[in-house]
Amino acid sequence: MDRFSVYVPKLLPRDENFLSGRRSCQGCGKALAARIASKAIGNNGIISGPAAQSRTPLARSLTAHSYAYDYLTFDGLAGSLLAGIDQVNKSVQAERKTRSKRVKKTVVGIDRRVFLANPVVLSRVFESDGEILYLCFDNEPYMKALIEHASPQAFNLAQVPHPVKAEQVERVIREKNVPEVVAGAGFSYVATACPGFPFDYMAKVKKGLELPGNAFINILSPCPTGWIFSPKLTGRVGQTAVKTGYFPLYEIEDGKTRITEPIKARKPVKDFIMMQGRFVLFPPELIAAMQKAVDEIYTELNEQMKR
């Protein structure tokens, strides 16, 4: 019995930087992801994010965390403000006001909607050679306009009048693949993560903080309200998404791809679909089309890894 005692608390820091007392939904995947990230970031960090986009961790007045937080009203301000923080960091480093050799990176939590709302500002930020770690929380029909319509399309029950066609399935899944796009923009470290695999996720956040240059982590955050499943299944849904190959976990470092969570026997995508209520009206032909698209993307990833 003594052998097993307290092995998770040994690996985690005790202090809670992402405090409890939030008004997020029950079993929120985004809050879980933000909390695990805060464990990896530690005490020194600046969280910055577009306000009023997400209901949960970065929401307006009912937030609870011990980080310095920038309250932003416009998406556009994010870029300039982050550049400012970066400049101050560099000057502090130049004047040797800190004992450490490198000032820690600033961490930005963004919703995937930013890619839609303000791509110009974001592309400018991406081009700058600042040292910023982006955490992109991706719940597919991101919480815009009451989970109704996402303009890079997503599978959603509210889209019943305009259902996804068989030809569109592959495009919808491929649009989700943000890391591949970002990897071309000169990022030093790009990865995908899921709160269902917390230690893998924490290792990636730490790696992103240590490496020089910009880093980007795309995080699948299961949403019980939007995807329609019981809130107790948040962890399990994320794990099945990884095990079916729907959301493979990998990292791209110096142009080399590596799958961090290799899957020996891949489950059918149907397992992932049957867990959720948003696929209730999904006809069986589309499930076959989805399986085909996921297979294609997964084999492409494997080929990329061999290069």
């Binding site: 005692s5 307290v6 998770v8 007392g21 008004r23 997020s24 962890g235």
Partner: protein
């Protein structure tokens, strides 16, 4: 405009039933169930502590885990991730006590 006795009663009943975010001091109004640990099965691994999205699970002086009921929302994520299945959900609701009886 004076309200009749019946109207006031209906209003108070309505307020009781739909009391959305009236009390910001606790998360109690989210909760239908609360987690209970079986201390004989618990191996003190702390996976429940890691997976709690609200950070409501704390360690007591003996090393066992317990939920802080002011913050717990009763999502039940800890029951699904527990290796020894030592956590069960017990019914308790502040907001809809009549729903449990149904």
């Amino acid at each position: 405009m004076a309200r009749t006795k019946q109207q006031r009663k209906a209003q108070s009943q309505f307020n009781q039933a739909i009391s959305i975010a009236d009390d910001f001091n606790s998360n109690e109004d989210f909760r239908f169930e609360r987690p209970v640990w079986d201390k004989e099965k618990c191996i003190k691994c702390g996976v429940c502590y890691l997976f709690c999205p609200d950070g409501a699970i704390r360690q007591d002086s003996e090393g066992y885990y317990e939920a802080d009921l002011t913050y717990c929302k009763g999502c039940g994520l800890c029951t699904m991730q527990c290796w020894t299945h030592c956590i069960t959900m017990e019914e308790s609701s502040k907001r809809f006590p009549w729903l449990i009886k149904l």
